[in-house]
């Protein structure tokens, strides 16, 4: 490699990677200091602000809600995406696939601010779109949507599933289309296996890598979820739908508790890191084999 090569190919990438990890360690350092107003304060205080965070009732709610998001936001999305992708492969009607793909992919291009606003009209108890439709069928709506603190988070997660389904289907579809898998499906069909049997025993085990990529991406997206909660409920009713990212936003941008906000950022990062390690190891092994 000549000097010119290094300058062109390596330096820009290295510059941005160093900047990114520099800011990451900066966050880590700030979380150990005593910075609690607008004015910078780098006095080292150890775990003081983490202790402050953990003792807040809000933190427990956040962790519980983030776990709900991680499980209920990801598992149904992946299952529905696999079923839908398989159904589209089998579809005996022409043109269905391209229609469905366009239909379910458009929300991916929209921001959560837009979809969140529209969905809050859908959810509005009494007058909202869903309740109006139910009334057309003569049903008095039993749902309280996002106004019931017990179930509000699940209704928010439904928006997420709706918005990410198209993205999930695309990833699953692309892993269906390897020639090996198509041959295996043909062989199983010749052997007389039922469609369900083919899905469970042939397809799912052979698209593991696609599922793994999808699950990691969805887990990260649900972990850092912020916009939906911010725009639809702002953590309410009370703090029942609060999540870590919203808590961080309030702590940092509204209360100016910089060290506590940095601590929350580090907690979100650590959760992401634990979730993503399996995928990263898998991907790296494949890359360097």
């Amino acid at each position: 490699m000549t000097l010119a090569d290094i300058l062109v190919f390596q330096v820009p990438l290295i510059f941005f990677v160093v900047l990114l990890f520099g800011t990451l360690f900066w966050t880590l350092y700030v979380s150990f200091t005593d910075w609690k107003t607008v004015a910078p304060n780098y006095d080292f205080t150890g775990l003081k602000w983490y202790q402050h965070l953990v003792t807040q009732p809000r933190f427990k709610v956040d962790i519980a809600n983030n776990l709900k998001w991680l499980i209920i936001g990801v598992v149904p999305t992946v299952v529905i995406a696999i079923l839908l992708a398989y159904l589209l492969e089998l579809s005996p009607i022409r043109g269905v696939e391209s229609y469905v793909r366009t239909l379910i992919l458009y929300p991916v291009a929209m921001s959560f601010i837009v979809t969140g606003t529209v969905w809050s009209w859908m959810y509005r108890p009494g007058q909202g779109v869903f309740d109006t439709i139910l009334r057309l069928f003569g049903i008095e709506s039993p749902f309280m949507y996002t106004t019931n603190p017990e179930t509000a988070t699940y209704w928010l997660i439904l928006i997420f599933i709706w918005q990410y389904l198209g993205f999930a289907v695309i990833i699953i579809q692309s892993s269906f289309r390897t020639s090996e898998l198509q041959e295996m499906i043909e062989a199983a069909t010749v052997d007389g296996a039922s469609r369900l049997r083919i899905l469970v025993s042939v397809i799912v085990p052979n698209i593991r890598s696609g599922i793994l990529v999808l699950v990691s991406l969805l887990l990260i997206s649900t972990l850092k979820v912020f916009d939906i909660v911010y725009i639809v409920t702002f953590g309410g009713p009370g703090i029942s739908t609060d999540v870590l990212a919203l808590n961080m936003w309030i702590t940092f941008f509204q209360q100016h508790l910089v060290s506590a906000g940095a601590g929350l950022g580090i907690i979100i990062f650590l959760m992401a890191f634990i979730i993503v390690i399996p995928y990263t190891i898998y991907a790296l092994r494949k890359w360097f084999e």
């Binding site: 990438l13 941005f16 990114l20 159904l87 005996p92 009209w121 940095a262």
Partner: protein, 178 residues
């Protein structure tokens, strides 16, 4: 076999109807609401189209009014500048870096690749506080370049990996369905 295909067809049609309603209803509601007056919107009734559609909402959003003070045209300009410049630069720098990562097998390149792999999934919450501090100190806060730089820092790892894998020496074979 025939009856099996029939049940499949029915399933497909039912799924098609369900998905169409779930994905077209929000768009429908958004479009018809945009033509209503504030009084009509406050009455609820999101499903019924308005009898006297008006474009005043669009005019107010684009050019501003007493009720809607901030007009949208300069904001659209900001979005366009930031997204076009940051995407172009991410693709360019990521392309160079990705080419380097995919063609080099030195120890340094491997370490860099691991770091990029971690950065790919880094939640922006973990870096946002120092970014705000940096932007405020360098005077880049509230400027286009401040936003573009923030996007570059977060997007270049993804751009490098995508560009690197697509210029990988071992091509992935895709078989198109007939």
């Amino acid at each position: 076999m025939k009856s099996k295909n029939k049940s499949l067809k029915i399933t497909v049609i039912l799924v098609l109807i369900g998905l169409s309603i779930a994905y077209l209803l929000p768009i429908y509601v958004m479009v018809i609401t945009s033509f209503k007056s504030i009084e009509e919107i406050n009455q609820g009734a999101y499903l019924t189209p308005t009898l006297n559609p008006q474009f005043v909402n669009y005019a107010e959003v684009l050019f501003g009014s007493i009720r809607f003070r901030s007009n949208m045209i300069p904001r659209l300009g900001n979005s366009a500048i930031i997204s076009v410049v940051s995407t172009a630069l991410s693709v360019f720098i990521g392309g160079l870096g990705g080419y380097y990562l995919s063609r080099t097998r030195t120890k340094f390149a491997r370490i860099l690749f691991v770091l990029v792999g971690i950065a790919l999934y880094l939640p922006y919450q973990a870096v946002i506080i120092p970014l705000v501090i940096l932007m405020a100190r360098t005077g880049l806060a509230l400027t286009h370049w401040g936003m573009i730089l923030s996007y570059l820092i977060l997007n270049i790892p993804l751009a490098s990996v995508l560009m690197g894998t697509s210029s990988s020496p071992s091509p992935v074979s895709w078989r198109r369905r007939p």
